[in-house]
């Protein structure tokens, strides 16, 4: 579980995150949604310590992350896996070497065991056939899957995903979503996904928080998103034609049902 208490972030006097309070639960996919520039990626970077918040607290279970010494931060980060927007694979290493990298740095396993673990992680993301390829030789979707395999190599307690579906076709996006949900359940991780893709929200968003202009506007589950009574959230959700039409269809159906009754 990750708790955020009164988190605020300013850049050159401009408020980017304003007093965010929320809890990300274990074993479910927690989603942070919002428009581009709303502050969701800044929130994610504050969570993993790539940006220091101006004020507020972040707790990883019983460990207070904000104000931790750098040595302790590095120790805590060994429990964290992260999927970056651009995958951030190491160009000079093969797919297998990328997944083996965290094991080589921090695992006490011998070489054979490390390789076995990396192969297991690649098998988990259905990439057993790509072990000897370099990142430049694989597609965007495959890169994301390798990044997921690398992120879970050390069996982390927390998984963070920054726009996991950006630049992917709908089918591959769905595969990535399902993969994130499956590994969250399998490994019992606290997963936080930043996205502006409503399909992902509907697919896997067990716990959803909506951020608008740095303020947490709404929090709920994927089942509540479509019928939420929040104008800004509705503006965001129904900006997509598809969801607008779904809502219109639902309204027509409910009207017809009412008439029948």
């Amino acid at each position: 579980m990750i708790e955020i208490k009164n988190l605020t972030k300013e850049f050159d006097g401009k408020l980017v995150l304003d007093n965010i309070n929320t809890t990300f639960h274990k074993g479910v996919v927690n989603m942070i949604i919002g428009r581009s520039g709303s502050g969701k990626t800044v929130l994610l970077k504050c969570l993993v310590g790539l940006i220091s918040p101006t004020s507020g607290e972040i707790w990883y279970d019983s460990r207070k992350f904000t104000g931790m010494k750098s040595r302790e931060v590095r120790r805590l980060r060994r429990d964290i896996g992260m999927l970056f927007q651009g995958a951030a694979l190491f160009d000079s290493r093969t797919v297998l070497e990328n997944v083996m990298f965290p094991l080589e740095m921090f695992s006490r396993k011998n070489k054979r065991e490390r390789r076995k673990r990396a192969e297991f992680c690649l098998e988990r993301v259905n990439l057993s056939e790509a072990t000897d390829l370099f990142p430049s030789e694989i597609s965007g979707g495959m890169k994301k899957r390798v990044a997921i395999a690398r992120a879970i190599a050390l069996n982390p307690k927390y998984l963070f995903c920054d726009e996991p579906n950006s630049g992917l076709d709908p089918k591959t996006s769905q595969l990535i979503d399902e993969l994130i949900q499956d590994i969250t359940l399998d490994f019992g991780m606290t997963t936080v996904v930043v996205s502006h893709d409503m399909n992902s929200v509907i697919n896997i968003g067990d716990n959803v928080i909506f951020i608008n202009e740095g303020i947490k506007e709404w929090e709920g589950s994927k089942a509540e998103v479509m019928g939420a009574d929040n104008e800004k959230l509705n503006d965001f959700v129904f900006a997509s034609d598809l969801f607008k039409k779904i809502k219109e269809a639902e309204e027509i159906i409910s009207e017809e049902e009412n008439q029948r009754k």
Binding site: A88, E104, F106
Partner: protein, 249 residues
């Protein structure tokens, strides 16, 4: 504002070096990166060192032979003066100025690209000391390989002069060889090697600093690479002046 920015850069560089100069998390990984650095930064620079040293050595001997044409000076003076120039300044300082272009831009662009493609963030998130993991092996390998490059450079510079004497015949090869052996001080070689190792540290660390702190996209990586070469050149020249005064003055 530029002055304040420069002070900030010095502070940031010092803080980065504090993170770089610590014990590696995994010695095995450090050694792997160290050997890679020896090859990419050192071995790959041998050819440019050989070619430049040969031609500059030849030109130095040619210039001195043409300009020191006095009956008051013995002809072996050409060998003595050429040797001192090559040993004391060319093989260390001028060679390092050239290497700051090749190696400095290589290091800055490699680390800069890793920065903008979030590879350094990925290392940090894993709990790796990214500065230490990426920069220390580069500095260590380049500094360690520097004496090899300097010795190659000295040898090829003197060899270039030898070939010029063979082609032109003035001074004769025997006179030139006598000249490069006359009044020889071994300490000059140590002085040159030591100086080049110091320059090696400056080149690799300053270039790594510019790459590590790059922000934005490809243009900024290019700018970081250019800035690293410019700053390195200035630092090498200033350090050369101070080091020469301290060591030989």
């Amino acid at each position: 504002m530029n002055f304040i920015r420069s002070l900030e850069d010095i502070g940031e560089y010092a803080l980065l070096m504090r993170r770089v100069l610590s014990v590696p998390d995994r010695m095995r990984e450090f050694m792997k990166e160290f050997m890679k650095g020896v090859y990419t930064l050192g071995v790959n620079s041998i050819w440019i060192v050989i070619i430049i040293s040969f031609f500059i050595g030849a030109v130095i001997v040619l210039q001195i032979a043409l300009n020191i044409d006095s009956p008051l000076l013995p002809r072996f003076t050409v060998g003595v003066v050429s040797r001192e120039i090559i040993l004391l300044e060319f093989s260390s300082t001028i060679m390092c100025l050239i290497l700051s272009g090749k190696v400095g831009s290589n290091v800055a662009s490699e680390i800069g690209t890793m920065r903008i493609t979030e590879q350094i963030d990925a290392l940090d998130i894993m709990g790796v000391n990214s500065a230490n993991y990426l920069i220390l092996p580069k500095i260590a390998s380049f500094v360690a390989f520097m004496p090899v490059l300097v010795i190659f450079s000295m040898f090829m510079g003197l060899f270039g002069g030898y070939i010029i004497c063979m082609v032109l015949g003035t001074p004769s090869i025997e006179t030139y060889v006598y000249g490069i052996q006359a009044f020889f001080r071994e300490s000059f070689i140590w002085y040159s090697i030591l100086k080049s190792m110091l320059f090696g540290f400056i080149i690799a660390s300053v270039a790594a600093y510019f790459g590590y702190t790059a922000k934005g996209g490809a243009l900024e990586v290019g700018a970081a690479s250019t800035n690293s070469v410019v700053i390195n050149s200035v630092l090498i020249l200033v350090t050369d002046l101070l080091f020469t005064q301290l060591a030989l003055g």
